[in-house]
Protein backbone atom coordinates (compact mmCIF):
# COMPACT_ATOMS: atom_id res chain seq x y z
CA UNK A 1 0.00 0.00 0.00
CA UNK A 2 1.26 3.43 -0.70
CA UNK A 3 1.62 5.30 2.49
CA UNK A 4 1.22 8.39 0.40
CA UNK A 5 -2.46 8.21 -0.32
CA UNK A 6 -3.85 5.98 2.39
CA UNK A 7 -4.21 8.52 5.08
CA UNK A 8 -3.90 12.23 5.16
CA UNK A 9 -0.29 13.22 5.53
CA UNK A 10 0.75 13.52 9.15
CA UNK A 11 0.38 16.99 10.53
CA UNK A 12 3.37 19.13 9.81
CA UNK A 13 5.24 19.78 12.96
CA UNK A 14 7.04 23.01 13.43
CA UNK A 15 10.78 22.71 13.72
CA UNK A 16 11.64 22.69 17.40
CA UNK A 17 13.46 25.89 18.41
CA UNK A 18 17.04 25.61 19.59
CA UNK A 19 18.16 25.30 23.19
CA UNK A 20 18.96 28.99 23.68
CA UNK A 21 15.55 30.10 22.53
CA UNK A 22 13.78 27.54 24.67
CA UNK A 23 15.63 28.76 27.74
CA UNK A 24 14.93 32.38 26.82
CA UNK A 25 11.21 31.78 26.54
CA UNK A 26 11.21 29.88 29.81
CA UNK A 27 12.96 32.70 31.68
CA UNK A 28 10.48 35.22 30.35
CA UNK A 29 7.52 33.06 31.30
CA UNK A 30 8.90 32.50 34.81
CA UNK A 31 9.21 36.23 35.36
CA UNK A 32 5.65 36.70 34.22
CA UNK A 33 4.48 34.06 36.68
CA UNK A 34 6.14 35.70 39.63
CA UNK A 35 4.38 38.93 38.76
CA UNK A 36 0.99 37.23 38.55
CA UNK A 37 -0.21 37.78 42.16
CA UNK A 38 0.46 41.51 41.76
CA UNK A 39 -1.30 41.74 38.45
CA UNK A 40 -4.41 39.83 39.51
CA UNK A 41 -6.16 40.87 42.68
CA UNK A 42 -9.10 38.47 42.79
CA UNK A 43 -8.41 35.48 45.05
CA UNK A 44 -10.99 33.48 43.18
CA UNK A 45 -9.25 34.07 39.86
CA UNK A 46 -5.91 33.12 41.35
CA UNK A 47 -7.36 29.97 42.85
CA UNK A 48 -9.05 28.95 39.62
CA UNK A 49 -5.86 29.69 37.72
CA UNK A 50 -3.91 27.47 40.08
CA UNK A 51 -6.28 24.60 39.44
CA UNK A 52 -6.23 25.24 35.71
CA UNK A 53 -2.44 25.01 35.77
CA UNK A 54 -2.62 21.69 37.57
CA UNK A 55 -4.92 20.47 34.81
CA UNK A 56 -2.51 21.88 32.27
CA UNK A 57 0.30 19.79 33.71
CA UNK A 58 -1.81 16.65 33.52
CA UNK A 59 -2.90 17.45 29.96
CA UNK A 60 0.72 18.08 29.03
CA UNK A 61 1.55 14.65 30.35
CA UNK A 62 -1.15 13.01 28.22
CA UNK A 63 -0.29 15.10 25.19
CA UNK A 64 3.39 14.32 25.43
CA UNK A 65 2.64 10.62 25.19
CA UNK A 66 0.67 11.28 22.02
CA UNK A 67 3.32 13.56 20.59
CA UNK A 68 6.35 11.47 21.30
CA UNK A 69 5.07 7.90 21.42
CA UNK A 70 1.94 8.16 19.33
CA UNK A 71 0.07 6.45 22.15
CA UNK A 72 -3.29 7.53 23.51
CA UNK A 73 -3.58 6.91 27.21
CA UNK A 74 -6.76 6.72 29.19
CA UNK A 75 -4.87 5.95 32.35
CA UNK A 76 -2.60 8.91 32.94
CA UNK A 77 -4.67 9.80 36.00
CA UNK A 78 -3.16 6.70 37.60
CA UNK A 79 0.12 8.56 37.98
CA UNK A 80 -1.64 11.74 39.00
CA UNK A 81 -3.37 9.81 41.75
CA UNK A 82 -0.28 7.86 42.66
CA UNK A 83 1.69 11.06 43.14
CA UNK A 84 -1.06 12.67 45.16
CA UNK A 85 -1.68 9.58 47.29
CA UNK A 86 1.97 8.85 47.93
CA UNK A 87 2.50 12.39 49.11
CA UNK A 88 -0.76 12.60 51.05
CA UNK A 89 -0.40 9.27 52.81
CA UNK A 90 3.26 9.75 53.69
CA UNK A 91 2.62 13.25 55.02
CA UNK A 92 -0.57 12.37 56.87
CA UNK A 93 1.08 9.44 58.62
CA UNK A 94 4.29 11.38 59.10
CA UNK A 95 6.23 8.37 57.93
CA UNK A 96 9.10 10.33 56.42
CA UNK A 97 10.28 13.90 56.25
CA UNK A 98 8.02 15.98 53.98
CA UNK A 99 10.88 16.65 51.57
CA UNK A 100 11.49 12.94 51.20
CA UNK A 101 7.77 12.36 50.82
CA UNK A 102 7.77 14.77 47.91
CA UNK A 103 10.70 13.02 46.33
CA UNK A 104 9.14 9.59 46.73
CA UNK A 105 5.80 10.81 45.44
CA UNK A 106 7.47 11.89 42.23
CA UNK A 107 9.90 8.98 41.90
CA UNK A 108 7.45 6.15 42.49
CA UNK A 109 5.03 6.90 39.63
CA UNK A 110 7.95 7.64 37.34
CA UNK A 111 9.48 4.26 38.03
CA UNK A 112 6.18 2.42 37.73
CA UNK A 113 5.50 4.11 34.40
CA UNK A 114 8.93 3.24 33.10
CA UNK A 115 8.40 -0.43 33.86
CA UNK A 116 4.90 -0.45 32.40
CA UNK A 117 6.19 1.44 29.38
CA UNK A 118 8.61 -1.37 28.57
CA UNK A 119 5.58 -3.60 27.99
CA UNK A 120 2.90 -1.17 26.86
CA UNK A 121 4.88 0.53 24.13
CA UNK A 122 4.40 -2.56 21.99
CA UNK A 123 0.66 -2.10 21.97
CA UNK A 124 -0.83 0.65 19.85
CA UNK A 125 -4.05 2.45 19.11
CA UNK A 126 -7.33 1.75 20.80
CA UNK A 127 -5.95 -1.37 22.45
CA UNK A 128 -3.34 0.79 24.16
CA UNK A 129 -6.00 3.24 25.27
CA UNK A 130 -8.03 0.44 26.85
CA UNK A 131 -4.98 -1.15 28.41
CA UNK A 132 -3.96 2.05 30.15
CA UNK A 133 -7.55 2.55 31.17
CA UNK A 134 -7.48 -0.89 32.76
CA UNK A 135 -4.33 -0.16 34.69
CA UNK A 136 -5.66 3.19 35.83
CA UNK A 137 -8.89 1.61 37.00
CA UNK A 138 -6.93 -1.02 38.90
CA UNK A 139 -5.30 1.75 40.92
CA UNK A 140 -8.67 3.42 41.30
CA UNK A 141 -10.23 0.24 42.66
CA UNK A 142 -7.43 -0.16 45.16
CA UNK A 143 -7.75 3.41 46.39
CA UNK A 144 -11.53 3.07 46.42
CA UNK A 145 -11.63 -0.15 48.43
CA UNK A 146 -8.61 0.06 50.70
CA UNK A 147 -10.08 1.97 53.59
CA UNK A 148 -7.04 1.62 55.82
CA UNK A 149 -4.84 3.40 53.30
CA UNK A 150 -6.75 6.65 52.91
CA UNK A 151 -10.36 6.06 53.87
CA UNK A 152 -11.34 4.38 50.64
CA UNK A 153 -14.12 5.94 48.66
CA UNK A 154 -14.59 8.80 51.10
CA UNK A 155 -11.19 10.23 50.39
CA UNK A 156 -8.91 11.66 53.06
CA UNK A 157 -8.22 15.17 54.26
CA UNK A 158 -4.79 15.72 55.74
CA UNK A 159 -2.79 18.51 57.31
CA UNK A 160 0.42 19.67 55.72
CA UNK A 161 3.55 19.49 57.87
CA UNK A 162 4.40 22.90 59.34
CA UNK A 163 7.44 23.41 57.15
CA UNK A 164 8.67 22.02 53.86
CA UNK A 165 12.10 22.96 52.49
CA UNK A 166 12.16 25.52 55.25
CA UNK A 167 9.09 27.38 54.06
CA UNK A 168 5.85 27.60 55.97
CA UNK A 169 3.83 25.07 54.07
CA UNK A 170 0.48 26.61 54.89
CA UNK A 171 1.35 29.29 52.34
CA UNK A 172 1.08 26.53 49.72
CA UNK A 173 -2.65 26.60 50.29
CA UNK A 174 -2.74 30.30 49.59
CA UNK A 175 -3.63 30.78 45.92
CA UNK A 176 -1.34 33.79 45.58
CA UNK A 177 1.64 31.59 46.45
CA UNK A 178 0.52 28.35 44.87
CA UNK A 179 -0.22 29.96 41.56
CA UNK A 180 3.43 30.99 41.24
CA UNK A 181 4.68 27.57 42.29
CA UNK A 182 2.38 25.77 39.86
CA UNK A 183 3.13 28.14 37.02
CA UNK A 184 6.86 27.76 37.48
CA UNK A 185 6.50 24.00 37.53
CA UNK A 186 4.55 24.12 34.28
CA UNK A 187 7.03 26.41 32.54
CA UNK A 188 9.99 24.31 33.60
CA UNK A 189 8.17 21.16 32.51
CA UNK A 190 7.42 22.54 29.07
CA UNK A 191 10.97 23.75 28.61
CA UNK A 192 12.26 20.37 29.75
CA UNK A 193 10.04 18.57 27.26
CA UNK A 194 11.22 20.79 24.42
CA UNK A 195 14.82 19.99 25.28
CA UNK A 196 13.98 16.30 25.46
CA UNK A 197 12.36 16.29 22.03
CA UNK A 198 15.58 17.69 20.61
CA UNK A 199 17.73 15.16 22.41
CA UNK A 200 18.94 11.94 20.85
CA UNK A 201 16.76 9.67 22.90
CA UNK A 202 13.79 11.89 22.16
CA UNK A 203 14.35 11.64 18.45
CA UNK A 204 14.84 7.89 18.61
CA UNK A 205 11.56 7.65 20.46
CA UNK A 206 9.95 9.60 17.63
CA UNK A 207 11.41 7.15 15.12
CA UNK A 208 10.05 4.21 17.12
CA UNK A 209 6.66 5.88 17.19
CA UNK A 210 6.70 6.23 13.43
CA UNK A 211 7.88 2.75 12.55
CA UNK A 212 9.04 0.47 15.29
CA UNK A 213 10.16 -2.30 12.95
CA UNK A 214 12.36 -0.09 10.86
CA UNK A 215 13.83 1.50 13.95
CA UNK A 216 15.10 -1.93 14.90
CA UNK A 217 16.52 -2.51 11.45
CA UNK A 218 18.51 0.70 11.57
CA UNK A 219 20.05 -0.62 14.75
CA UNK A 220 18.18 0.94 17.65
CA UNK A 221 16.84 -0.79 20.70
CA UNK A 222 13.19 0.05 20.67
CA UNK A 223 12.16 -0.72 24.23
CA UNK A 224 13.96 1.91 26.28
CA UNK A 225 13.27 5.21 24.47
CA UNK A 226 9.47 4.91 24.55
CA UNK A 227 9.64 3.75 28.15
CA UNK A 228 11.60 6.88 29.00
CA UNK A 229 8.82 8.91 27.45
CA UNK A 230 6.28 7.08 29.60
CA UNK A 231 8.38 7.83 32.63
CA UNK A 232 8.65 11.53 31.83
CA UNK A 233 4.94 11.78 31.16
CA UNK A 234 4.19 10.04 34.43
CA UNK A 235 6.55 12.36 36.27
CA UNK A 236 4.54 15.34 35.06
CA UNK A 237 1.26 13.70 36.01
CA UNK A 238 2.64 12.90 39.46
CA UNK A 239 3.85 16.47 39.84
CA UNK A 240 0.35 17.67 39.05
CA UNK A 241 -1.05 15.19 41.56
CA UNK A 242 1.30 16.35 44.30
CA UNK A 243 0.45 19.98 43.62
CA UNK A 244 -3.25 19.26 43.78
CA UNK A 245 -2.98 17.21 46.96
CA UNK A 246 -0.91 19.94 48.57
CA UNK A 247 -3.18 22.75 47.56
CA UNK A 248 -6.36 20.94 48.59
CA UNK A 249 -5.03 19.07 51.59
CA UNK A 250 -7.21 16.27 50.34
CA UNK A 251 -6.92 13.10 48.28
CA UNK A 252 -9.69 10.92 46.87
CA UNK A 253 -9.94 7.93 44.54
CA UNK A 254 -11.37 10.14 41.79
CA UNK A 255 -7.79 11.29 41.30
CA UNK A 256 -7.20 7.91 39.63
CA UNK A 257 -10.41 7.70 37.67
CA UNK A 258 -10.30 7.20 33.92
CA UNK A 259 -12.71 10.04 33.33
CA UNK A 260 -10.01 12.40 34.60
CA UNK A 261 -7.57 10.86 32.12
CA UNK A 262 -10.21 11.26 29.44
CA UNK A 263 -10.74 14.91 30.27
CA UNK A 264 -7.01 15.49 30.17
CA UNK A 265 -6.89 13.88 26.75
CA UNK A 266 -9.67 16.10 25.52
CA UNK A 267 -7.82 19.14 26.80
CA UNK A 268 -4.66 18.00 25.05
CA UNK A 269 -6.35 17.43 21.72
CA UNK A 270 -8.36 20.63 21.89
CA UNK A 271 -5.11 22.51 22.33
CA UNK A 272 -3.23 20.53 19.72
CA UNK A 273 -1.38 17.41 20.80
CA UNK A 274 1.23 17.66 18.07
CA UNK A 275 2.68 20.70 19.82
CA UNK A 276 4.37 20.74 23.18
CA UNK A 277 2.47 23.75 24.46
CA UNK A 278 -0.82 22.70 22.84
CA UNK A 279 -2.17 20.56 25.69
CA UNK A 280 -1.44 23.19 28.33
CA UNK A 281 -3.23 25.88 26.35
CA UNK A 282 -6.11 23.52 25.65
CA UNK A 283 -6.35 22.68 29.34
CA UNK A 284 -6.57 26.28 30.45
CA UNK A 285 -9.23 27.07 27.84
CA UNK A 286 -11.22 23.95 28.62
CA UNK A 287 -11.01 24.60 32.34
CA UNK A 288 -12.41 28.08 32.03
CA UNK A 289 -15.00 26.97 29.50
CA UNK A 290 -16.29 24.40 31.95
CA UNK A 291 -16.18 26.92 34.73
CA UNK A 292 -18.19 29.35 32.66
CA UNK A 293 -20.69 26.69 31.58
CA UNK A 294 -21.15 25.84 35.28
CA UNK A 295 -23.33 28.93 35.58
CA UNK A 296 -25.95 27.19 33.55
CA UNK A 297 -26.43 24.52 36.19
CA UNK A 298 -27.36 21.15 34.74
CA UNK A 299 -27.12 22.42 31.19
CA UNK A 300 -23.37 22.72 31.36
CA UNK A 301 -22.75 19.40 29.59
CA UNK A 302 -24.67 20.54 26.52
CA UNK A 303 -22.70 23.78 26.40
CA UNK A 304 -19.35 22.09 26.79
CA UNK A 305 -20.40 19.39 24.33
CA UNK A 306 -21.49 21.87 21.70
CA UNK A 307 -18.30 23.86 22.02
CA UNK A 308 -16.27 20.66 21.78
CA UNK A 309 -18.02 19.55 18.62
CA UNK A 310 -17.77 23.00 17.07
CA UNK A 311 -14.11 23.46 17.98
CA UNK A 312 -13.21 20.04 16.68
CA UNK A 313 -15.00 20.56 13.39
CA UNK A 314 -13.48 24.02 12.95
CA UNK A 315 -9.98 23.21 14.07
CA UNK A 316 -9.26 19.52 13.94
CA UNK A 317 -5.57 20.26 14.42
CA UNK A 318 -6.29 21.92 17.73
CA UNK A 319 -6.04 25.54 18.72
CA UNK A 320 -2.29 25.75 18.42
CA UNK A 321 -2.48 23.82 15.17
CA UNK A 322 -4.80 26.42 13.72
CA UNK A 323 -2.68 29.28 14.96
CA UNK A 324 0.40 27.67 13.49
CA UNK A 325 -1.31 27.19 10.13
CA UNK A 326 -2.50 30.77 10.00
CA UNK A 327 0.95 31.98 10.92
CA UNK A 328 2.58 29.75 8.31
CA UNK A 329 0.10 30.90 5.67
CA UNK A 330 0.85 34.53 6.40
CA UNK A 331 4.56 33.97 6.28
CA UNK A 332 4.40 32.15 2.98
CA UNK A 333 2.61 35.11 1.42
CA UNK A 334 5.02 37.69 0.04
Amino acid sequence: MTSVVDKAAPAKRPAMPGTARILGFAALALALGVAMPWLVSSKLTLSLTTQAIVDALLATSVGFLVLQNGRVSFGQAAFFGLGGYAFGVLVARQLVAPELALLLALALPTLVAFLLGLVFARIAGVAHAMLTLAVGQAFYEIAFRWRELAKGDDGMSFDLPPRIFGFASSSLQDPAVMVVVAWSALVLALAGLALFVNSRIGQIAAAVRDNEERARFIGHDTAIPPAVVYAIAAFLAALAGVLQATYNGYIAPQMFHWSLSGTALIMAVVGGAQFIVGPAIGAVCFFFLKDFAGRFAEFWPAIVGTVLVAVTLLMPQGMVGLAFRLWAARRSKP
Partner: protein, 282 residues
Protein backbone atom coordinates in the same frame (compact mmCIF):
# COMPACT_ATOMS: atom_id res chain seq x y z
CA UNK B 1 -24.33 -23.66 38.22
CA UNK B 2 -26.30 -24.06 35.00
CA UNK B 3 -28.28 -20.98 35.95
CA UNK B 4 -25.13 -19.03 36.65
CA UNK B 5 -23.72 -19.89 33.25
CA UNK B 6 -26.98 -18.89 31.65
CA UNK B 7 -26.89 -15.56 33.44
CA UNK B 8 -23.42 -15.03 32.07
CA UNK B 9 -24.75 -15.59 28.58
CA UNK B 10 -27.49 -13.03 29.17
CA UNK B 11 -25.09 -10.30 30.17
CA UNK B 12 -22.64 -11.35 27.47
CA UNK B 13 -25.43 -11.15 24.92
CA UNK B 14 -26.27 -7.60 25.96
CA UNK B 15 -22.63 -6.62 25.76
CA UNK B 16 -22.39 -8.17 22.33
CA UNK B 17 -25.31 -6.13 21.01
CA UNK B 18 -23.57 -2.96 22.08
CA UNK B 19 -20.05 -4.01 21.15
CA UNK B 20 -20.96 -5.07 17.66
CA UNK B 21 -22.29 -1.60 16.96
CA UNK B 22 -18.97 -0.19 18.10
CA UNK B 23 -17.14 -2.62 15.85
CA UNK B 24 -19.23 -1.67 12.83
CA UNK B 25 -18.69 2.02 13.33
CA UNK B 26 -15.03 1.70 14.11
CA UNK B 27 -14.45 -0.50 11.11
CA UNK B 28 -15.78 1.88 8.53
CA UNK B 29 -15.16 5.25 10.04
CA UNK B 30 -12.32 4.51 12.42
CA UNK B 31 -14.40 6.32 14.98
CA UNK B 32 -13.91 5.26 18.58
CA UNK B 33 -17.44 6.08 19.50
CA UNK B 34 -17.67 7.32 23.05
CA UNK B 35 -21.21 8.41 22.31
CA UNK B 36 -22.28 4.82 21.81
CA UNK B 37 -23.34 4.46 25.41
CA UNK B 38 -25.34 7.66 25.10
CA UNK B 39 -26.95 6.36 21.92
CA UNK B 40 -27.88 3.19 23.79
CA UNK B 41 -29.40 5.39 26.47
CA UNK B 42 -31.26 7.49 23.93
CA UNK B 43 -32.61 4.36 22.26
CA UNK B 44 -33.83 3.13 25.59
CA UNK B 45 -35.66 6.39 26.33
CA UNK B 46 -37.13 6.61 22.84
CA UNK B 47 -38.72 3.20 23.25
CA UNK B 48 -39.74 3.92 26.84
CA UNK B 49 -42.76 6.10 26.26
CA UNK B 50 -44.48 3.50 24.12
CA UNK B 51 -43.29 0.54 26.15
CA UNK B 52 -44.56 2.04 29.39
CA UNK B 53 -48.00 2.51 27.87
CA UNK B 54 -48.20 -1.17 26.99
CA UNK B 55 -46.90 -1.00 23.43
CA UNK B 56 -43.58 -2.64 24.14
CA UNK B 57 -43.02 -4.12 20.71
CA UNK B 58 -43.98 -0.95 18.94
CA UNK B 59 -41.54 0.87 21.21
CA UNK B 60 -38.81 -1.52 20.11
CA UNK B 61 -39.56 -0.92 16.46
CA UNK B 62 -39.79 2.84 16.78
CA UNK B 63 -36.54 2.98 18.73
CA UNK B 64 -34.65 0.90 16.18
CA UNK B 65 -35.92 2.95 13.25
CA UNK B 66 -35.36 6.24 15.01
CA UNK B 67 -31.84 5.33 16.05
CA UNK B 68 -30.99 4.15 12.55
CA UNK B 69 -31.98 7.61 11.35
CA UNK B 70 -29.89 9.24 14.07
CA UNK B 71 -26.93 7.13 12.96
CA UNK B 72 -27.32 8.18 9.35
CA UNK B 73 -27.49 11.84 10.30
CA UNK B 74 -24.44 11.46 12.53
CA UNK B 75 -22.47 9.82 9.78
CA UNK B 76 -23.43 12.30 7.12
CA UNK B 77 -22.96 15.43 9.21
CA UNK B 78 -20.13 14.57 11.52
CA UNK B 79 -18.15 11.43 10.83
CA UNK B 80 -17.88 12.05 7.10
CA UNK B 81 -16.20 15.38 7.49
CA UNK B 82 -13.72 13.94 9.97
CA UNK B 83 -12.64 10.89 8.00
CA UNK B 84 -9.31 12.44 7.10
CA UNK B 85 -8.39 13.11 10.69
CA UNK B 86 -6.86 11.15 13.44
CA UNK B 87 -8.83 8.80 15.73
CA UNK B 88 -8.40 11.01 18.74
CA UNK B 89 -9.94 13.97 17.02
CA UNK B 90 -13.11 12.00 16.48
CA UNK B 91 -13.03 10.89 20.08
CA UNK B 92 -13.51 14.54 21.01
CA UNK B 93 -16.54 14.81 18.79
CA UNK B 94 -18.15 11.70 20.16
CA UNK B 95 -17.44 12.88 23.66
CA UNK B 96 -19.12 16.18 22.88
CA UNK B 97 -22.08 14.31 21.46
CA UNK B 98 -22.31 12.27 24.61
CA UNK B 99 -22.60 15.40 26.71
CA UNK B 100 -25.19 16.91 24.40
CA UNK B 101 -27.32 13.76 24.28
CA UNK B 102 -27.32 13.49 28.05
CA UNK B 103 -28.65 17.01 28.36
CA UNK B 104 -31.23 16.49 25.64
CA UNK B 105 -32.57 13.43 27.43
CA UNK B 106 -32.53 15.18 30.79
CA UNK B 107 -34.56 18.02 29.40
CA UNK B 108 -37.01 15.76 27.59
CA UNK B 109 -37.58 13.00 30.13
CA UNK B 110 -36.30 14.53 33.37
CA UNK B 111 -33.70 13.25 35.79
CA UNK B 112 -35.89 10.89 37.78
CA UNK B 113 -35.10 7.22 37.31
CA UNK B 114 -37.49 5.34 35.06
CA UNK B 115 -38.10 1.63 34.78
CA UNK B 116 -39.25 -0.44 31.86
CA UNK B 117 -42.00 -3.00 31.94
CA UNK B 118 -41.38 -6.53 30.72
CA UNK B 119 -43.53 -7.19 27.64
CA UNK B 120 -46.57 -9.29 28.56
CA UNK B 121 -45.66 -12.01 26.14
CA UNK B 122 -42.38 -12.58 27.95
CA UNK B 123 -43.40 -12.02 31.57
CA UNK B 124 -43.01 -14.71 34.17
CA UNK B 125 -40.50 -17.45 34.78
CA UNK B 126 -39.76 -21.00 33.70
CA UNK B 127 -38.19 -23.76 35.76
CA UNK B 128 -34.57 -24.34 34.86
CA UNK B 129 -32.51 -26.71 36.97
CA UNK B 130 -35.16 -26.58 39.63
CA UNK B 131 -35.37 -22.86 40.11
CA UNK B 132 -37.37 -20.12 38.43
CA UNK B 133 -35.69 -18.27 35.59
CA UNK B 134 -37.19 -15.19 33.91
CA UNK B 135 -38.45 -15.89 30.41
CA UNK B 136 -37.34 -12.39 29.47
CA UNK B 137 -33.72 -13.31 30.02
CA UNK B 138 -34.05 -16.17 27.56
CA UNK B 139 -35.40 -13.64 25.10
CA UNK B 140 -32.24 -11.55 25.47
CA UNK B 141 -30.14 -14.59 24.66
CA UNK B 142 -32.26 -15.30 21.60
CA UNK B 143 -32.01 -11.74 20.32
CA UNK B 144 -28.24 -11.61 20.62
CA UNK B 145 -27.80 -14.98 18.94
CA UNK B 146 -30.06 -13.92 16.11
CA UNK B 147 -28.19 -10.67 15.61
CA UNK B 148 -24.85 -12.48 15.71
CA UNK B 149 -25.96 -15.05 13.15
CA UNK B 150 -27.60 -12.46 10.92
CA UNK B 151 -24.58 -10.20 10.91
CA UNK B 152 -22.18 -13.05 10.29
CA UNK B 153 -24.24 -14.21 7.32
CA UNK B 154 -24.55 -10.71 5.94
CA UNK B 155 -20.85 -10.04 6.14
CA UNK B 156 -19.73 -13.41 4.88
CA UNK B 157 -22.17 -14.17 2.10
CA UNK B 158 -23.37 -10.95 0.58
CA UNK B 159 -21.68 -8.52 -1.77
CA UNK B 160 -22.35 -5.65 0.54
CA UNK B 161 -20.86 -7.60 3.42
CA UNK B 162 -17.72 -8.06 1.37
CA UNK B 163 -17.55 -4.33 0.67
CA UNK B 164 -18.01 -3.57 4.33
CA UNK B 165 -15.16 -5.84 5.28
CA UNK B 166 -13.00 -4.40 2.54
CA UNK B 167 -13.74 -0.80 3.44
CA UNK B 168 -13.10 -1.59 7.10
CA UNK B 169 -9.54 -2.55 6.23
CA UNK B 170 -8.78 0.00 3.58
CA UNK B 171 -11.42 2.49 2.61
CA UNK B 172 -9.27 4.21 0.01
CA UNK B 173 -8.57 1.14 -2.07
CA UNK B 174 -12.15 -0.02 -1.73
CA UNK B 175 -13.52 3.20 -3.09
CA UNK B 176 -11.07 3.12 -6.00
CA UNK B 177 -12.84 -0.11 -7.00
CA UNK B 178 -15.95 1.97 -7.63
CA UNK B 179 -17.63 1.58 -4.28
CA UNK B 180 -19.14 4.67 -2.70
CA UNK B 181 -17.77 4.22 0.78
CA UNK B 182 -19.68 7.19 2.12
CA UNK B 183 -22.95 5.59 1.14
CA UNK B 184 -21.78 2.27 2.52
CA UNK B 185 -20.89 3.83 5.81
CA UNK B 186 -24.25 5.53 6.01
CA UNK B 187 -25.74 2.05 6.07
CA UNK B 188 -23.15 0.68 8.45
CA UNK B 189 -23.21 3.53 10.96
CA UNK B 190 -27.01 3.50 10.73
CA UNK B 191 -27.01 -0.20 11.47
CA UNK B 192 -24.57 0.14 14.34
CA UNK B 193 -26.65 2.88 15.90
CA UNK B 194 -29.86 0.96 15.32
CA UNK B 195 -28.27 -1.90 17.24
CA UNK B 196 -27.56 0.53 20.07
CA UNK B 197 -31.27 1.37 20.00
CA UNK B 198 -32.20 -2.29 19.93
CA UNK B 199 -30.02 -3.09 22.89
CA UNK B 200 -31.32 -0.03 24.71
CA UNK B 201 -34.88 -1.31 24.57
CA UNK B 202 -33.94 -4.94 25.12
CA UNK B 203 -31.87 -4.02 28.18
CA UNK B 204 -34.61 -1.71 29.42
CA UNK B 205 -36.45 -4.18 31.65
CA UNK B 206 -33.20 -5.08 33.41
CA UNK B 207 -31.69 -1.64 33.88
CA UNK B 208 -32.74 1.62 35.42
CA UNK B 209 -33.21 4.37 32.90
CA UNK B 210 -31.19 7.45 33.68
CA UNK B 211 -29.35 9.90 31.45
CA UNK B 212 -26.04 8.42 32.56
CA UNK B 213 -27.00 4.76 32.19
CA UNK B 214 -24.87 4.30 29.08
CA UNK B 215 -21.68 5.16 30.91
CA UNK B 216 -21.89 2.12 33.13
CA UNK B 217 -21.92 -0.38 30.30
CA UNK B 218 -19.76 1.40 27.74
CA UNK B 219 -16.44 0.43 29.26
CA UNK B 220 -17.43 -3.24 29.36
CA UNK B 221 -18.35 -3.02 25.68
CA UNK B 222 -15.04 -1.43 24.83
CA UNK B 223 -13.27 -4.22 26.65
CA UNK B 224 -15.20 -6.69 24.53
CA UNK B 225 -14.23 -4.92 21.33
CA UNK B 226 -10.57 -4.78 22.24
CA UNK B 227 -10.30 -8.33 23.52
CA UNK B 228 -12.11 -9.60 20.47
CA UNK B 229 -9.67 -7.85 18.22
CA UNK B 230 -10.60 -4.49 16.81
CA UNK B 231 -12.86 -4.73 13.83
CA UNK B 232 -13.53 -8.43 14.31
CA UNK B 233 -17.15 -9.47 14.60
CA UNK B 234 -16.54 -13.07 15.53
CA UNK B 235 -13.94 -12.02 18.05
CA UNK B 236 -16.39 -9.62 19.65
CA UNK B 237 -18.95 -12.39 20.01
CA UNK B 238 -16.57 -14.71 21.79
CA UNK B 239 -15.19 -11.91 23.92
CA UNK B 240 -18.69 -10.81 24.94
CA UNK B 241 -19.59 -14.31 26.10
CA UNK B 242 -16.31 -14.53 27.95
CA UNK B 243 -16.79 -11.21 29.73
CA UNK B 244 -20.37 -12.17 30.56
CA UNK B 245 -19.17 -15.32 32.28
CA UNK B 246 -16.34 -13.53 34.04
CA UNK B 247 -18.78 -11.01 35.43
CA UNK B 248 -21.05 -13.65 36.83
CA UNK B 249 -18.57 -16.15 38.08
CA UNK B 250 -16.34 -13.38 39.39
CA UNK B 251 -19.18 -11.93 41.45
CA UNK B 252 -19.69 -15.33 43.03
CA UNK B 253 -16.28 -16.86 43.45
CA UNK B 254 -13.93 -13.90 43.60
CA UNK B 255 -16.13 -11.07 44.84
CA UNK B 256 -13.24 -8.93 46.07
CA UNK B 257 -11.71 -8.90 42.60
CA UNK B 258 -14.87 -9.02 40.51
CA UNK B 259 -14.68 -5.51 39.13
CA UNK B 260 -11.05 -6.00 38.22
CA UNK B 261 -11.37 -9.32 36.42
CA UNK B 262 -12.40 -8.00 32.99
CA UNK B 263 -9.56 -5.49 33.14
CA UNK B 264 -7.06 -8.11 34.19
CA UNK B 265 -8.25 -10.43 31.48
CA UNK B 266 -7.82 -7.67 28.93
CA UNK B 267 -4.33 -6.82 30.13
CA UNK B 268 -3.35 -10.46 29.95
CA UNK B 269 -4.76 -11.00 26.49
CA UNK B 270 -3.27 -7.84 25.05
CA UNK B 271 0.16 -8.60 26.38
CA UNK B 272 -0.10 -12.07 24.92
CA UNK B 273 -1.57 -10.86 21.63
CA UNK B 274 -1.42 -7.10 21.16
CA UNK B 275 -4.19 -7.22 18.56
CA UNK B 276 -6.70 -9.27 20.55
CA UNK B 277 -8.23 -12.64 19.65
CA UNK B 278 -8.94 -12.18 16.02
CA UNK B 279 -7.67 -8.77 15.16
CA UNK B 280 -5.02 -7.54 12.85
CA UNK B 281 -5.43 -3.87 13.64
CA UNK B 282 -4.72 -1.72 16.59
Amino acid sequence: MAIQLLNGVVYGGLLYLLAVGLVLIFGLREVVNFAHGALFMLGSYVGYTLAASGQWWLGLLVSVVFMAAVGCVLDALVFRSLRKHDHIVTVLITFGLLLILETVVTVTWGKAYLSYPVPKLLAGTVEIAGSPFPIYRLFIIAVSLLVAAGLAAWLRFTRMGLYVRAASTNAHVTSIQGIDVDRLSLVVVGLGTALAGLSGVVAGPLLTLSPTMGNYILIDSFIVVVIGGLGSFGGAFIAALLIGQIHNLGAIYLPWAATMLPFLLMIGILIWRPTGFAGSRT
